[in-house]
Symmetry: C2
Subunit: 389 residues, 2 copies
């Protein structure tokens, strides 16, 4: 019997999307279990799952011994087949392109970098297309259809336009369509921090939480919020600017024009300035400051503690306003998070209001490839168009 080529992820109805995302994000689950968790009938799950199995996206595991105690037919859990499709994710920074290929679970399978010698749109598009070509050499190519791209700044995901990127100096660049022409892939564009939040929501700490926040600390300080299962986009394209939450009235002035912003105290640059001030060494490097602080240099430890304090205050503001279930704080660059963590937690504990303090606080480093993985997660999510838009 000749078999026609199996279809791409057959997401044809809300129920299909629900079932597929449930299995994708919550690991192997039996059909009844999916039904219980989603509120669908078990008949609906059976129907929705079949096309995915036929198309190779899901498989039925053999019942592995007893799961629940007692009698009853053992379950045949549904599991994702991660290798059924690959996704490309690229993060564009001011200096380079970071690219990864991931599977359906957003696990990284390949990665590559590419320096950017110019910020011209054409140059970036070409470099990105080259990078994608490089990443997709070999067997990955046949099963990759989607590309996710993450850029910092004001990005309109729906239209695929970079409205404003300070780093690149771009305004209103229709990057998604340019890249579709250049690569032949379906392209989804997203703000970089929001992309990270998507990765976290689907494949990380955010799984199962209807609201959570992701905070990134580094050159800038940003965040993305998920409320009631939806990413907060901001009516005017701005949201999650925890870096510009004012926490120290009359504090240092910030490049945004305000004063006492979290970023004016706790960004890498602000910390370095402060460290040079404290030590009286204008040539002090960040690496040295970190090393000495780790070694026990009290004045320098104070500098990092002050930054941690400011971040803790910003977190408290965020948590008191939104009351998320969980917050992930992720630190870029030199992984200095060990120097902040204590102070962040202490300040947060003092300033979080009532039971908002029960919110889980995860603090961990942020390998720079993670940004590209976020972009890939956005590409995975783009399978569910009707759901997301």
């Amino acid at each position: 019997m000749p078999r026609s080529a199996p279809a791409r992820a057959p997401i044809t109805s809300p129920a299909a999307a629900t079932v597929f995302t449930t299995v994708l994000t919550e690991g192997p689950v039996s059909r009844v279990d999916v039904a219980r968790r989603t509120g669908l009938s078990s008949a609906a799950v059976t129907k929705a799952a079949r096309p995915f199995i036929e198309a190779g996206y899901l498989e039925e595991l053999a019942s592995e011994g007893r799961t629940a105690p007692g009698a009853g037919r053992p379950a045949n859990p549904l599991a994702i087949r991660p290798d059924r499709e690959y996704f490309v994710g690229v993060k564009i920074t001011g200096d380079d392109l970071i690219g990864v290929v991931t599977d359906l679970r957003a696990d990284v399978r390949a990665s590559a970098h590419h320096a950017l010698t110019s910020h011209g749109v054409e140059h970036v598009v070409q470099a990105l297309a080259d990078l994608v070509g490089e990443l997709l050499s070999g067997h990955l190519r046949e099963r990759a259809y989607c590309l996710g791209v993450a850029v910092s700044g004001d990005v309109d995901r729906a239209s695929g336009v970079v409205r404003y990127s300070p780093f690149l100096g771009w305004r209103d660049v229709p990057l998604a369509s340019l890249l579709e022409d250049a690569t032949g892939l379906t392209v989804t564009l997203e703000n970089d921090v929001k992309a990270l939040a998507v990765a976290e929501q689907w494949f990380g700490e955010g799984v199962g939480a209807s609201s959570f926040a992701l905070v990134t600390v580094g050159t800038g300080i940003g965040s993305a919020l998920v409320v009631n299962g939806d990413l907060v986009r901001g009516a005017h394209g701005v949201a999650g600017e925890i870096g510009h939450v004012p926490v120290a009235d009359g504090g240092p002035s910030c490049h945004c024009g305000g004063r006492g912003c979290v970023e004016a105290i706790a960004s890498t640059e602000a910390i370095l300035t402060h460290a040079r001030q404290v030590t009286g060494e204008p040539g002090l490097s960040m690496d040295d400051a970190v090393t000495r602080a780790r070694g026990g240099d009290e004045p320098l430890r104070e500098v990092f503690a002050a930054a941690g304090h400011a971040i803790g205050l910003g977190l408290a503001a965020l948590v008191n306003l939104f009351g998320p279930e969980r917050v992930v704080v992720s630190g870029e660059g030199v992984a200095t998070y060990d120097l902040f963590e204590d102070q962040i937690r202490r300040t947060f504990a003092v300033q979080a209001f009532g039971s908002a303090a029960r919110c889980g606080l995860v603090i961990r480093p942020l390998p720079f490839e993670e940004w590209a993985r976020g972009a890939a997660a956005v590409a995975v999510q783009s399978l569910f168009v009707s759901d997301t838009v």
Copy 2:
């Protein structure tokens, strides 16, 4: 042909709810217009609207001249019949009960007060039932089925339980079911600030905005947020605590245990304390302080400006984090908002980040009956159970 009694609001399907809310909140609209705004087919609108017309909730207006230029059959707009059903709203404070009866549009038709002589649950329930009886004397009674109750503190709307009310000293009181027994009405319980936000979302500044915030300034400082059309509830029941956003590192300590909270600077009590300090008159009353500030007393004006500044910083934090389309700041009590307004706007303009500053800022007084109206709006919204929960 004998006609059976018309049914209560026949909200039987998502489309029915959509059509009814659209007509309710967006005034008279033609069917095609409803279809365009909601994405439904015009056939679906026709079908969904009919039962509402039959039950007396909607009516069809005669085509009033040309609305659009050019040819074509003139539209027969659908309009709400506000008197079809009445709603009772009661706000419980520490000292008294404030009650109103409104129509479907949440316009107040009757109001009454009732002093509370005790905080005992039974006493409050009895007093509230009496108040409702008083409010519903006369013709309003026959068409009132729903009661909304607003209480400050941690309130679980879904289960109708007051989890914690500092003012009343209550914990885990199943107020909704107690009141259903006492009044015979369907009772919906909601946090007071969230109730105000619901009133605003459906019948005020929030109409048509997918995200906005409501901030109340008075004894306490609170807020409620609507994001993507949904009220933010907070994973642990806490959200919108703008009063406890830290804006002044090292500032005055707050009863919550933190320091530099907005409420520690701009609550009525904090202002009074500060005013007494500045003038050196420990017996100074709020009314006097307000009068003298309005009269031009500079040190006292400074006190109010400082409060406005703190509120402006809190607003900036809120807006930078979630980028609402609009913010309503509403001032309780002595309507001192005229003394804050300027400073709030100035500080906000400086600290709001980028285009987040484009968010509309409405500052206006908050008559205390408004709280009860919020409760009534929640009762109106409770018609749409499947939609809201």
